[in-house]
Symmetry: C2
Subunit: 293 residues, 2 copies
Amino acid sequence: MSDAALPKASSPAAGRPRPFPIAATIATSDSGGGAGIQADLKTFAAHGVYGVSVLVACTAQNTVGVRAIEPLAVSFVRAQVEALADDLVPRAVKTGMLLTAEHTETVAECLRRFDFGPLVVDPVMIAKSGDRLLAEDAVTTLRGALLPLALVVTPNWPEAAVLAGQPVRDEREAEAAGRRILRFGPRFVVVKGGHSPGPPTDLVVHASGVVRVPGARIASSATHGTGCTFSAAIVARLARGDDPIEAIAAAKLYVSRAIAAAPGLGRGHGPLQHFPPDWEVWRPTPGAPGGPG
Amino acid sequence: MSDAALPKASSPAAGRPRPFPIAATIATSDSGGGAGIQADLKTFAAHGVYGVSVLVACTAQNTVGVRAIEPLAVSFVRAQVEALADDLVPRAVKTGMLLTAEHTETVAECLRRFDFGPLVVDPVMIAKSGDRLLAEDAVTTLRGALLPLALVVTPNWPEAAVLAGQPVRDEREAEAAGRRILRFGPRFVVVKGGHSPGPPTDLVVHASGVVRVPGARIASSATHGTGCTFSAAIVARLARGDDPIEAIAAAKLYVSRAIAAAPGLGRGHGPLQHFPPDWEVWRPTPGAPGGPG
């Protein structure tokens, strides 16, 4: 049976009221609460959307490093996705750390089968602590199976270099890598500028050009989970109905505020403050754009 | 080596500033986001405390039922606790669904070894959907190993009956069961009144009496994760330095508001709205009670 013949789980029934926006994360648990599904759920909550999650693995982790990783069975990953598809269909979805090629392929297969709305792929490869989080052969699967389904992919410079298969040492090379990654299928490649020696400008590379999203470098060791938080904030905004480039720019600003307000926890790369001062939790208004019907 | 000889991980160093409050949940993942660590983390976030989590198992679940459960290895449960003890020590902690006697014993052993602050035990036994969530022999372990460590335990009527080993069919029997459970070691037994045919009054049974916390019955099917949310709200308030009875009363009010504002998701027992309208996220103020030093 071809994918096209499969019913799409979230085809909107004409005239039915829009439900409360749901955002999903398919990723890994961080016991330390700063990254993974924990950061994603905190970010979704801060943006006023209802968060659901599909775990592919669990880590024993803190701000210093990853101490243990427990992969979950791919049949169980599938069961979690099916439980959502039957009852709590997301309006937008992200993937984070997917660990192995088999898990990555399973997630891609699930996302071909069910329509969970626009997909943001955070191509997590290495933790801030330096621990490797994605098997080498999984990169090929991520590129070949997941990127064709993505609306947005959010590599930093090292990840862009791996995905594109070419070096990224300056902004010109970052843009070139972004263009190359675009060919694998996503509509927007956000090459994050955090590793740039200059200002951390993000490049949003798309079919008709490049949008530069400037940012100010914040001197902080609170950078645990910034990538997770950024991609989750994009997903939350997409679930609310935002335009992708607006969602990306707003997500970058949110991460800056969350870093600036970091609670100063842990001895390593500390977590963010997902509810920074003066941050207003968005409230869905029935009938309004993004809100329930 | 006796437990008493082990260093307590969070012994406050005199004169050192108090860190930002951290609350921990030791429980199970609910992919549907309405119960388990997901509800706990949302509740912690709504109360402005930093949430961390220790997973003992994962479920594939939605508002209709539990489709699959994956227990995690107890060595991995221990690794997650140790990662927190070394770097992100909680000021208060709760336990939720612990699945088996072996997991329950492991969690009790970890909580004897490390001082994670006051412990709230939510003696989860059966999901709202009717699915059994705690093995029968685990009840004995919960009673004998975990309750002696608890400040607060939060059974509903059926759970109080199982823990006390005597029937609970009315408020008088609920109070008697509460008194019996008190003998196993907790300082406060909150026998929740949700199963009462009358008003859902919670009974806070303690050594010197009973405090009645009244509540209004809300006609709603959005009751998935109410027990998790209630115990998590108590923990969040304890982490901020609240008095236990104040924390319990405030948690009950929070749950009522979260039920009343439920987003109407799912076909079964729907989830709560953890950020109800006009709810203000608490902001820790440096130097103020509960805030960082």
